[in-house]
């Protein structure tokens, strides 16, 4: 392995993933632009959150970074290595350093494999430990993620959702990666358990100096875990900023709408919400111009939005927005 180089641990440049989507036999081949030119970097030890509605391409982006899905074009740097240029053997070696925890805790575990075996398998495959030593490691990992080591002989269907997600985390951690893609790790969990898992992830990050790409579909959890946030819409990043400025004053109308759509558990807060009209368009034929213009509530929206695509511009240091009118952001809805 190369020595740690300075600069970001992961740098994604102009990443594109198009899925072939022609449905009819003799039709012109068409593409579903799931990820369409994303640039994003993660520094060591930080958590970057990726937020957006369903179908905006978050999972696809996360999987591309690990090359579980082969990107159409773009570059991914991991600690100075060009990930997409690696052969399969080198890639397998690199997979020791980057891992993923999946959106669906039940589906990500082999139903026919005891969960202890599932966590032990990567240890043996990568020759980290075997036999008794491996079993001890598994027990330690189980304890680290807050699971009773006696659960190792259980099968996935014998565990609760929260326990399965913890197994998923233990398995990802087993090979001591530096970087973790967390694909909606708590969305499928009960509220009371969700908080436990979020706290577990924060503690692990601190103790192991992990770097997280934290995918979420709303902005509530993100506020408690992320250092920086990237908001995705139709395969593109529309706003990227540090947490505090983003939540204080969203500059993109989509970010503002997402923020105001999250319900707040306080009956006295009668917020004026920005309710977006319509639904996210199909990535099969995204609207021309600004991809968001079909739903944009910005009062200044005009003909330019429907023809010119706004570039992702750096408005303030470390603050990028793709909106023609980002200098005049929408009023934050008054509490």
């Amino acid at each position: 392995m190369s020595e740690s180089s300075p600069g970001p641990l992961v740098a994604i440049e102009n990443l594109v993933k198009h899925f072939p989507a022609s449905t009819r036999l003799f039709a012109r081949p068409s593409y579903l632009k799931a990820v369409d030119g994303v640039t994003l970097s993660l520094d060591r030890g930080e958590t970057v959150a990726l937020v957006g509605e369903s179908g905006s391409g978050k999972t696809t982006l996360g999987r591309c970074v690990l090359r579980l899905t082969e990107p159409t074009s773009g570059t991914i740097w991991f600690d100075g290595t060009d990930v997409l240029a690696l052969g399969s053997a080198d890639m397998r070696a690199l997979r020791r350093r980057m891992q993923i925890v999946f959106q669906d805790p039940a589906g990500s575990l082999n139903p026919r494999m005891a969960v202890g075996t599932a966590v032990r398998e990567p240890l043996e495959v990568h020759r980290i430990a075997r036999g008794k030593a491996a079993r001890d490691r598994v027990a330690d990992l189980f304890e680290e993620v807050g699971l009773d080591p006696s659960l190792t002989s259980r099968f996935p269907h014998e565990l609760s959702g929260g326990q399965k997600q913890r197994v998923g985390i233990a398995r990802a951690l087993s090979i001591e990666p530096e970087f973790l893609v967390l694909d909606e790790p708590v969305s499928a969990l009960d509220v009371s358990v969700q908080a436990q898992v979020v706290n577990l992830l924060t503690d692990l990050q601190r103790s192991r100096n992990l770097t997280y790409l934290f995918i979420a579909h709303d902005l509530a959890v993100v506020r408690h875990v992320a250092t920086r946030v990237a908001v995705m819409y139709l395969g593109r990043i529309v706003e990227r900023a540090r947490v505090v400025p983003l939540y204080d004053r969203p500059l993109h109308p989509y970010t503002a709408s997402l923020l105001s759509a999250v319900p707040v558990p306080d009956p006295t807060v009668k917020r004026k919400r920005i309710v977006l009209a319509g639904e996210i368009p199909s990535p099969r034929n995204p609207p021309p111009g600004c991809p968001f213009h079909t739903r944009c509530p910005h009062p200044l929206k005009d003909a330019r939005c429907t023809t010119d695509e706004p570039a992702l511009r750096e408005l303030q240091p470390d603050r990028w927005v793709a909106c023609h009118y980002a200098e005049n952001p929408m009023e934050k809805p008054a509490p």
């Binding site: 509605e53 369903s54 609760s160 959702g161 929260g162 326990q163 009960d190 509220v191 009371s192 358990v193 969700q194 908080a195 436990q196 898992v197 979020v198 706290n199 924060t202 579909h217 709303d218 902005l219 509530a220 959890v221 506020r223 408690h224 875990v225 947490v243 505090v244 939540y247 709408s257 997402l258 923020l259 759509a261 999250v262 319900p263 707040v264 558990p265 306080d266 009956p267 006295t268 807060v269 919400r273 309710v275 977006l276 009209a277 639904e279 996210i280 509490p335």
Partner: protein
């Protein structure tokens, strides 16, 4: 306000291979005219079973109601109504929308024909008339181009659109009560906001009472007048929405409120509730929350607490509220 629906000592259990599942256990609440009652609880707490019990949609067997159970609508006990009479109540007086819109719509019929069929099931109108009403309903629930979408199949619609269709179908006979079982859980926050607005607007317009089921306290705060918190098959706390959110009396409610990540507050650690939600085949003894409760006392492990008053119209089932023995306060 008079109670339109009165649920008393509702117990619903299922006989399964794994043993007797006591899904709902001694649940009582009132739903007043024009009121929205929010029923909140985590997965498996018995919310859906409560809703299905009201319309007697529980398959019997394996399901069975306890002998004390009563569900009074308009003075009649729905649990003891002959099924012909019950059918006149279902859909026409009390309508329900389900957790998963996709699986509650028939995939091989157009959405329009499903709505018009729902109308014709209760009213003697011609097919033509029913179809026209169905188009109106699609328009009412905010589906663009209702005349064209009438002929769509469910899979041609997004989740949000399907849920709108479900709402339209539920409203087809102008019911007095609408039971909404997690109508927005499967949807994005942006679409959730649209559907919630739609529901609130329609509720006002048709002066309905709503039993709104959710696991999201945030959603609840925005829609409910009164709140009932479910845990382990029973209602552990119930009261006006402000009272429950501002002075939660049950440790579970308090824990739940702390566990919700808030978008409107700067980041700090969210506190979860230790342990996990118990399963319905093996409820813990005594107070069902006791293994996870930070204020658990000896008696909590043994005896199930009764319902104590915690303020006006505000009750909670927790031994902490018992003042007779002077153990606390």
């Amino acid at each position: 306000m008079t109670a339109l629906l009165r649920v008393r000592h509702l117990s619903t259990s299922f006989q399964t291979e794994a043993g007797l599942v006591r899904a709902v256990d001694d649940v009582s609440f009132d739903l007043a005219e024009g009121e929205t009652l929010g029923l909140v609880g985590e997965s498996g707490s018995g919310k859906t079973v409560t809703a299905l019990s009201i319309l007697r949609l529980i398959p019997q067997p394996p399901g069975a109601f306890g002998p004390e159970s009563r569900i009074e609508y308009d003075g009649v006990d729905l649990l003891r109504l002959p099924s012909r009479e019950l059918r006149k109540v279902r859909g026409a007086q009390i309508a329900m929308i389900f957790q998963e819109p996709m699986s509650s719509l028939n995939p091989v019929l157009t959405v329009g024909s499903q709505i018009s069929e729902a109308i014709r099931a209760h009213e003697p109108v011609s097919r033509k008339e029913a179809n026209d009403r169905a188009v109106e309903l699609l328009d009412l629930v905010g589906i663009p181009e209702p005349g064209r979408r009438f002929r769509d199949y469910p899979h041609q619609m997004s989740g949000g659109m399907q849920q709108r269709v479900m709402i339209g179908m539920a409203l087809s006979c102008r019911p007095k009560i609408l039971i909404a079982d997690e109508p927005t859980t499967a949807l994005d926050v942006t679409i959730q906001a649209q559907i919630l607005d739609l529901l609130l607007e329609l509720k006002e317009r048709f002066a309905m009472s709503v039993l709104f089921i959710t696991h999201d306290l945030g959603v609840l705060a925005g829609v409910a007048d009164r709140v009932a918190v479910m845990y382990g098959g029973s209602i552990v706390e119930q009261g006006p929405v402000r009272a429950v959110f501002e002075q939660p009396a049950h440790p579970y409610t308090r824990g739940l409120l702390h566990a919700v990540p808030r978008v409107d507050r700067p980041s700090d650690r969210i506190e979860g509730i230790p342990g996990s939600v118990p399963t319905a085949t093996a409820w813990p003894s005594g107070c069902r929350f006791h293994p996870r409760c930070s204020e658990c006392m000896k008696r909590c492990e043994v005896d199930a607490p009764p319902s104590y008053s915690a303020g006006t119209d505000h009750t909670a089932r927790c031994w902490l509220l018992d003042q007779s023995e002077g153990q606390r306060q």
